[in-house]
């Protein structure tokens, strides 16, 4: 499959000298939902922002549908619908005003699609953005991103500030949109349980590196968990289990099938052995 999002040897260092990304190689194929999971400060937002053209790579390159956003940002943005971490809307505008603005900024914006999505969720379009709940604001931002009819949705931790019901509704809309339109979504989160039911693929990011990149089905099929002292397969890492006991995540080998959360925890634990980003880069 042709990758719709690519990163090649991507490294990003901020002015204060911290490496947010330390040499990432990624290819995300078109279609389906990819979860980008990692702890806070793993570099998830930075990675997404380089695709949007908000962050310039210190080294390496990124591409959206084959276009480098730092060479042709306008063309790259044609392929992107973006929902930022905190969906900041204009306080002084109503929801409908936001759609009007989107039409003026992007003449191909599908206002009817956005309206349909908002109406389905019962979000009053005449309401001022300031009067909406956090979940509703996130839904408005998502409706605008969907209205762009972009090939790929980049969702930068949109669930972080939402209550459980709003999270579920948000994920439902994303899943429905991607499944019905055959689009692609990259959904970042630091909580794997938020996204595991919606995603087809999983990328685990830690200390600025890709720790795992696989389809959810493959990841679950090829990883097992066993007590740390009984593991006999290729041990990825050991970490504390629910009761405080040490468990080992291993590729194949004995033990019970690993949950997606355990897979992520295991890979994040493995990253502790990786040198710090400043040194690695």
């Amino acid at each position: 499959m042709t990758p719709i999002l690519e990163a090649h040897d991507l490294a990003k260092r901020y002015r204060r000298g911290v490496w947010a990304l330390a040499g990432i190689d990624l290819e995300i194929p078109a279609g389906g939902i990819t979860a980008l999971v990692g702890p806070n400060a793993a570099g998830k937002s930075t990675l997404i922002k380089t695709w949007v053209g908000f962050e310039r790579p210190t080294r390496g390159s990124v591409r959206v549908s084959g276009i480098d956003p730092w060479k042709d940002r306008a063309a790259a943005l044609d392929h992107i619908g973006y929902v930022p971490q905190s969906p900041a809307l204009y306080d002084g505008l109503s929801v409908e005003d936001h759609l009007d603005m989107a039409v003026l900024l992007r003449p191909t914006f599908d206002r009817n699609l956005a309206r349909e999505r908002l109406d389905q969720l019962g979000i009053p379009r005449a309401a001022g953005a300031r009067s909406l709940s956090g979940g509703q604001q996130a839904q408005v931002a998502l409706a605008i991103a969907l209205g762009t009819r972009a090939e790929v949705l980049l969702l930068d931790e949109p669930l972080a500030s939402l209550d459980p019901l709003a999270r579920r509704e948000f994920l439902h809309v994303v899943t429905d949109a991607v499944r019905s339109d055959g689009g692609t979504a990259l959904l970042s989160s630091h909580i794997v349980t938020d996204v595991e039911q919606a995603c087809d693929r999983l990328i685990v990011l830690g200390v600025g590196r890709v720790l795992l990149q696989a389809s959810v089905a493959d990841a679950v099929a090829t990883h097992r968990v066993a007590p740390a002292d009984e593991a006999i397969g290729e041990v990825i890492a050991t970490f504390a289990g629910p009761a405080g006991e040490r468990v080992a995540l291993q590729r194949d080998g004995d033990g019970r099938p690993a949950t997606l959360e355990e897979i992520v925890l295991g890979y994040l634990a493995s990253a502790r052995a990786v040198p710090e980003r400043g040194q690695a880069a």
Partner: protein, 329 residues
């Protein structure tokens, strides 16, 4: 056309607070100035034989008292209208990018829209329209008031209240707008950007005062100290030596202080001794003043307005560069 109106409506909503505050301030001060102008014209019309400046005031005490009572109040406001242009421009310019960055809405606008430059042009165009409309109102009302304050002169041919009336206010507003937009884009936060903007505009204004006399120096006319007529624009004063060389008073203080220790006749001619002065022989030099005559007022104002507006547009160009390269949050 429909799109333009939609954009104007949305832009107004995004800057409603600033526009309403500035609009109210400009409207109130304009009405006040028109009222004072009306009152001054009324006094002047009621006492057509009274000269309020440079003339015989016999029998005009009551008229003069009333005239200068209003004049004093009007002068307080007209002397400070030079600030108004800068203030209007800055207050409308700073939030254009800074607020978007500060509130995070730039992330929405800059990804839904393909071009940040196009987005900025749209925002700046509306802010420019409002800036020009508000300051044009001030330009007109200050001209009306200035004319009423000096019924004895033709204000279109005089530098009386120069810089505090007419289209220069609009030009300065454009400079303030440009500075506001570029500083807002650089700083990315409204209040700090406003404070920095005040210093930037203050610096540019001070620089213009230092630079404009140099610009006008070559085209200024020489007047004698007793020929200060018609409210010209003062450029420089000094002593013209007998050789024809002109030394400004700054140069005199710095290098020819001996010229200050001389005998000076009423016409401004310097002599080495009192006897020479009385005899009118061996003049050392004569005081001069370099001025732009009042007849050139309109030309000078048009030129300076164009310079300020051009500088403002250049700064807006700089803001476009910064906006297209900066992070949205």
């Amino acid at each position: 056309m429909n799109g333009v109106l939609h954009w104007a409506r949305l832009s107004f909503r995004l800057q409603r607070l600033e526009i309403l505050l500035l609009g109210t301030a400009v409207l109130v001060s304009s009405l006040l100035m028109l009222w004072w102008a009306f009152e001054l014209n009324g006094v002047a019309a009621a006492y057509p034989d009274c000269a309020f400046f440079n003339g015989d005031a016999t029998g005009c005490a009551a008229a003069q008292e009333r005239f200068f009572e209003i004049f004093g109040a009007a002068e307080i406001i007209i002397r400070n209208t030079w600030v108004a242009g800068f203030a209007v421009g800055l207050v409308l310019g700073v939030p254009l990018v800074a607020r978007e960055v500060e509130h995070g809405t730039a992330q929405l606008a800059w990804t839904v829209g393909r071009s940040r430059i196009r987005w900025l042009i749209g925002r700046v165009a509306f802010a420019t329209l409002v800036t020009v409309l508000l300051t044009a109102l001030l330009a007109v009302t200050t001209e009306v008031l200035a004319a009423a304050m000096r019924p004895d002169i033709t204000t279109s041919q005089s530098f009386e209240h120069y810089g505090n009336r007419g289209p220069l206010i609009v030009g300065r507003a454009m400079l303030g707008l440009g500075a506001g937009v570029v500083v807002g884009a650089l700083v990315g936060r409204q209040l700090p950007a406003l404070l920095v903007g005040v210093f930037v505009v203050g610096g540019l204004y001070a620089a213009s005062w230092a630079w404009l006399p140099l610009w006008y120096h070559g085209e200024a006319e020489v007047r004698r100290t007793n020929e200060w007529l018609g409210s010209p624009l003062y450029i420089e004063s000094g002593i013209e030596l007998a050789s024809g060389e002109r030394l400004s008073f700054t140069e005199v203080f710095e290098g020819r202080a001996d010229l200050l220790d001389t005998y000076q006749a009423k016409d401004g001619t310097h002599y080495a001794t009192e006897a020479d002065a009385e005899a009118g022989r061996n003049p050392l030099g004569r005081d001069y003043i370099l001025v732009i005559p009042g007849e050139r007022y309109n030309e000078i104002v048009a030129r300076e307005t164009a310079v300020f507006t051009g500088a403002g547009l250049l700064l807006i160009g700089g803001a476009a560069f910064v906006t297209s390269h900066r992070r949205p949050a």
